[in-house]
Symmetry: C2
Subunit: 168 residues, 2 copies
Amino acid sequence: MTPSSTRGLKRRAAFGEGRPRGKNRAARDKLDLAELNGHVGYFLRRLQVAIFKDFIETLADFDVRPAQYSVLVLIAANPGRSQAAISKTLNIERARLARMLHELERRQWVERRSAANDGRSHSLLLTPAGQKVLAQIKRLAARHEKQAAEMIGAERRAQLLALLREFG
Amino acid sequence: MTPSSTRGLKRRAAFGEGRPRGKNRAARDKLDLAELNGHVGYFLRRLQVAIFKDFIETLADFDVRPAQYSVLVLIAANPGRSQAAISKTLNIERARLARMLHELERRQWVERRSAANDGRSHSLLLTPAGQKVLAQIKRLAARHEKQAAEMIGAERRAQLLALLREFG
DNA sequence: TATTGTTATACTCTATAACTATA
DNA sequence: TATAGTTATAGAGTATAACAATA
């Protein structure tokens, strides 16, 4: 967790001096956002990037990215379903999902069986190793979610979650 | 605006039949999101992608992406500032900003002057042509924002904007 | 020594198209 | 004809590192 620009949103105002100088000169250079203040997409994007960054750092030991995590969770909760079903639910391009599953199969976390009723589709399952590692990954994901709550405030996180889930 | 997967979040339940078949079979395949239901980042990401998609489509005639738009707006509202100032405010890597400004300069929307007081930095300005085109772009961006409000509901958009701005 | 801007590389994600095999 | 999965390509965005010029 580096003291990078993302985290730098807060901090500040912790210096008793008038105008920050030297390394903190950057903080003074905040510009007028103008029309951006009226775009919900702008703020949505900023927060999403900050949260994904924390997710990636928190799960770095397993080298699991958010998209991979969402696929693993979906396979675990819906064993035997097809790539198309996962793809549609998560809005992941089937082309990209195919490559991602290759990687998850290489790690021996996921297994593809050809479906009994439809020769075209694959049934997706977690391997025993995959189930084991997912349990650990979920613990880290839960830790990340706590960190996100600290970052943005538990109250605001709850309100955001309610608003966003309500939509889709 | 295609009837793509993004928009497909709603629709459904508009069919008097029991289980949808054929083309609507996909709608039946919605899976259990399990732990994803507790991750604010997951829903944040979904909405951000949907909104950016609408932005890109609405501004397709000018071939302006969200990041480019934010840079143009910032330069217009803060003329003469450096690349470093823009970069820090928008959390865009300075390396990426350099390439983006190359493209905006190629279109003759932006001008780089070497700063008077600091030989290292550039003062960024819109050209007259850039100011003209930005006025049109802003009108389309306002239309996009209206569409976003229709998509997620004006009420929810306002609540989201308030929550998100309050944070960062 | 630190900062500004630049070039380069690598990886993730998105968007398409083309192809096969099955239905 | 349409769907499931695969491979390939191109572009955007992110993350680094290395470098020259300047402070």
